[in-house]
């Protein structure tokens, strides 16, 4: 199972970003083996960033997203998918993954 984290920098030490679709990076984290891929999100573009970011999640086959509260158009796209979004505000990516595993994160 893979999850996607919206982060300020490309590492597990990074803070979860204040923004979902306009975050600097996405980490695609594999819960089975602890490996992760980094997606540079700097060119998300000017229009429709929300749905585009959800598309990135779909393309990477993730089951969950950990981020700040996504905007309305992003949430519309999320509701059309099977992906769940969890509130990771104020956490580091590492801590967010830990809390996700133990079921402590709140679903948005």
């Amino acid at each position: 199972m893979k999850i996607m984290l919206a982060t300020d920098s490309p590492s597990l030490e990074s803070k979860i970003s204040d923004r979902f679709a306009r975050t600097s990076y996405f980490l695609i984290y594999n819960l089975e083996n602890g490996n992760f891929d980094v997606i540079d999100n700097s060119s998300i573009g000017s229009h429709g960033a929300g749905p585009k970011a959800v598309q990135i999640a779909m393309d990477n086959d993730v089951s969950a997203i950990i981020s700040a509260i996504p905007g309305e158009t992003a949430m519309e796209a999320v509701r059309e998918s099977k992906i769940k979004v969890y509130d990771g505000r104020g956490l580091s990516a590492k801590d967010a993954i830990g809390k996700f595993k133990s079921g402590e994160l709140k679903e948005i």
Partner: protein, 289 residues
């Protein structure tokens, strides 16, 4: 240190966001100002920032035609839905203001003479003002990339706040309820909604409240020029009560606001009833920080 971010928005334009923001920028002890109305910014008129750093903003992509490769077939002109490509005397020319960067021409061109290229959509600036840093921007005409540029403005404002140990960012938000307004309020700690006692003021207030609720941010309402329409003011107050939204204050119509605006100065530098109420609103807001 944690930085507290306050956004001032309204839904409807022209209710007094910038008037309030300018006064708050003087009332706050330490603050970074962020003018997030990047389409038509005005805060700089009052705060008179001196630019320290200038950043280029590449937001959108535009089609660029390589005249060397062009075979003059005209397919690009046919597929362009925005009438952005026209034949001009001896060659095809792209009107950059009309181009939306959809890329249809780049796919249709048999000679591969067209390409989408990142284009300069605007600039954003770090400046200094009399009482603290300010981040502001200017979008080029015809660009529609403001949500993204606002994100850049806010990132820089937050960075400046952390670097200079300033615990407060005040965001003069974008009007409307869409992308720019959303980008102005997301992940803030408190939202001030400025409305006026008119039908459209209340209508747009209801809509922006929905947007703020979506992000689960605390908010309070200020009614500007409340005494020009007492029954509408009452209606707004009842609405806020029903929706359990805090009333931060009611600013009277006051000639001194007009004078302050004409002189490009913040209202609170004047001794008048509007100025007194703005100070009370700020006290109210400061208690949330």
């Amino acid at each position: 240190m944690l930085v507290f971010q306050i956004a001032i928005v309204s839904g409807k334009g022209g209710t007094g966001k910038t008037t309030l923001s300018a006064s708050f920028s003087y009332l706050a002890k330490e603050r970074v100002m962020a003018d997030c109305d990047v389409d038509a910014p005005n805060l700089h008129i009052i705060l008179k920032p001196q630019i320290i750093e200038r950043h280029e903003y590449f937001g959108s992509k535009k089609a660029v035609l390589d005249q060397e490769k062009c075979v003059m077939c005209g397919v690009c002109e046919q597929v362009c839905r925005f009438d952005a490509i026209k034949f001009d005397s001896d060659r095809y020319v792209i009107n950059e203001y009309a181009c939306e960067g959809c890329g249809a021409c780049t796919i249709a061109c048999p000679a591969k003479a067209l390409q989408l290229v990142q284009s300069l959509s605007g600039e954003y600036y770090l400046s200094k003002t009399d009482n603290g840093p300010m981040v502001h921007a200017l979008l080029k005409p015809s660009e529609e990339t403001s949500g993204d540029l606002i994100a850049e403005v806010r990132k820089l404002a937050l960075k400046v706040a952390y670097d200079s140990q300033i615990p407060l960012v005040i965001i003069d938000g974008a009007p409307g309820i869409g992308c720019p307004a959303t980008s102005s309020i997301t992940s803030t700690n408190y939202v001030i909604l400025v409305t006026e006692p008119t039908m459209s003021g209340l209508h747009d207030l209801r809509r922006i409240v929905e947007t703020v609720r979506h992000f689960r941010i605390k908010m309070g309402v200020v009614i500007n020029k409340y005494d020009i329409n007492p029954s509408k003011t009452q209606e707004i107050e009842e609405y806020c009560k029903t929706e359990e939204i805090e009333m931060l204050g009611k600013i009277p119509y006051d000639e001194c606001v007009k004078r302050a605006t004409e002189n490009a100065q913040p209202v609170i530098l004047y001794d008048c009833s509007a100025s007194e109420e703005i100070k009370r609103v700020w006290e109210n807001v400061s208690s949330k920080i």
